[in-house]
Amino acid sequence: MPEGYLPLFVFLIVALLFPVVLLWAAALVRPSTPGQVKHEAYECGIEAASNARGRYTVRFYIISILFVIFDVETVFLFPWAVRYRQLGWFGIGEIGVFLLILVAGYIWAWQKRALEWV
């Protein structure tokens, strides 16, 4: 029913326009007295030694990889949950095998200390 999505698009347009108009209106009203000190990156008053385009810890990368793997799992669980009563015991068996494989991967990741934040 494409008609049902109409309010969604109307509201999406409203929601997109609202912050744009707000930011634009604020830019019209507010004072603007730029200066060297105001434009520096905030580092508690100390002069910035370098910019922020450096390297950061690989932990964030590992977490996002793990997220992708397990998020795919939850995506597969939703259709199963919605058709659960029709699938019956067959559905339980299938999802049991599926979860078993994923839990094995989860335990392996835990053993490899990928879940620990050092």
Binding site: G4, F11, D71
Partner: protein
């Protein structure tokens, strides 16, 4: 054509109500926190600080907005817009009440009645990460970068238990449509225990509800998981370099997210607009009693105002009259089918909002390693086990 006009009117109403609520959520939060800490909170601007949100908006609009020259201009400006738009759009699929007929027009009390409601909410709430991560990265400053990274890692980690906790009640409900989910939770066991999902058989979803609440605290970056804006270590977190309306946008997005999460929790676990006890025992008159009672309390305190708070002598009776009018609305037969479900839905949602603020006033902040370990080595396995137990019990009882 008729559908189009009704949709436009509903969009206008919801947008107005949503933005007003967002402005006043901040007032409510400050007031509740203040009373938890035994201080009056906002008190100067208007009676009991009721005009404080307006004053804050004027202050934020007239503040100087700084565009840092080292920042990536496009993404720096895109981030707050993305955060707010995404957070506001999520409210579209929430049903505030059943299908009603007002003045000859039959319509759903909700904007869009989608058959993929929960998937839509999950998709939209995942997009919220972009606003935070982009804002932190585009500022090209160290505190926002760290705040943005922390925040995105935290939000994606807690997304897993959140999605698993949402999947468990679906096993009982077998639909993704929010309106159908609420309708299925109608009725009572033994005549008085509501058939909401947190009480539902065969396996009460109370554990799913708790996992959902904990995960949504992390998703919305609230205490005790407000690491992205831990002011003692990261100044302001991802919005350190934002000022004026950019800063206000991130705040608005945060409150909109809280509101959405509370509405989703209400629909999925607390029975949406279904009343707490049957209409046969007079649940339709509960709002009237509560509002008239509040009016009576206000009149009493207005008449017996302290000498040091003489202003209350005028403001309290005015509030009392407002409450009387609101209560009288629930007695009008034409409006009754609209306002009574709305009352139950809003009271449950706002109670959850109150829980959010209550937790903020009670718990200290986690350390970052504790936060990540809690998500991956406790909450995630518990959510999986909860899902499996639910599925087994549903299978046993339905065959």
């Amino acid at each position: 054509m008729n559908f189009f006009i009704v949709s436009l009117i509903k969009t206008g109403l919801v947008a107005f109500a949503l933005l007003t609520t967002l402005a006043y959520l901040q007032w409510i939060e400050r007031k509740v926190l203040a009373h938890i800490q035994l201080r009056p909170g906002p008190y100067r601007v208007g009676p009991h600080g009721l005009l404080q949100p307006l004053a804050d908006v004027i202050k934020l609009v007239t503040k100087e907005g700084i565009l840092p020259p080292q920042a990536h201009t496009f993404f720096y400006l895109l981030a707050p817009i993305l955060a707010v738009s995404v957070a506001l759009t999520a409210i579209v699929v929430i049903p505030f009440g059943p299908e009603v007929t007002v003045f000859g027009v039959t319509t759903n009390m909700g904007l869009a009645d989608l058959n993929i409601g929960i998937l839509f909410i999950l998709a939209i709430s995942s997009l919220g990460v972009y606003g935070v991560a982009l804002g932190g990265w585009a500022s090209n400053s160290k505190y926002p970068l760290l705040g943005g990274l922390r925040s995105s890692a935290q939000m994606i980690s807690y997304e897993l238990p959140l999605a698993l906790a949402l999947a468990a009640p679906l096993l009982i409900m077998n639909t993704l449509n929010f309106r159908e989910i609420t309708v299925l939770q109608g009725g009572y066991w033994l005549g008085f225990i509501p058939k909401w999902n947190i009480f539902a058989g065969p396996f009460p979803q109370i554990f799913s509800f708790i996992i959902f609440l904990i995960a949504s605290f992390a998703e919305t970056n609230r205490v005790p998981f407000d690491l992205p804006e831990a002011e003692s270590e990261l100044v302001g977190g991802f919005h350190t370099e934002y000022s004026s309306m950019g800063f206000a946008s991130f705040f608005m997005a945060e409150y909109a997210n809280i509101l959405t999460v509370c509405c989703v929790g209400t629909v999925l676990f607390l029975g949406g607009w279904q009343p707490l006890w049957p209409a046969a025992y007079g649940s339709d008159f509960a709002p009237v009693v509560i509002l008239f009672g509040s009016a009576a309390i206000l009149f009493f305190h207005g008449a017996n105002a302290l000498k040091s708070r003489l202003w209350d002598r005028f403001s309290f009776p005015v509030f009392g009259v407002v409450f009387l009018i609101l209560g009288a609305l629930f007695l009008v037969p034409v409006l009754k089918p609209v306002v009574v479900p709305l009352f139950w839905f809003l009271s449950k949602s706002l109670f959850l909002v109150f829980v959010f603020i209550w937790i903020r006033g009670t718990l200290p902040r986690f350390r970052y390693d504790q936060l990540m370990r809690f998500a991956w080595t406790f909450l995630f396995p518990v959510a999986v086990v909860n899902l499996l137990v639910t599925s087994f019990l549903v299978a046993i009882t339905s065959n």
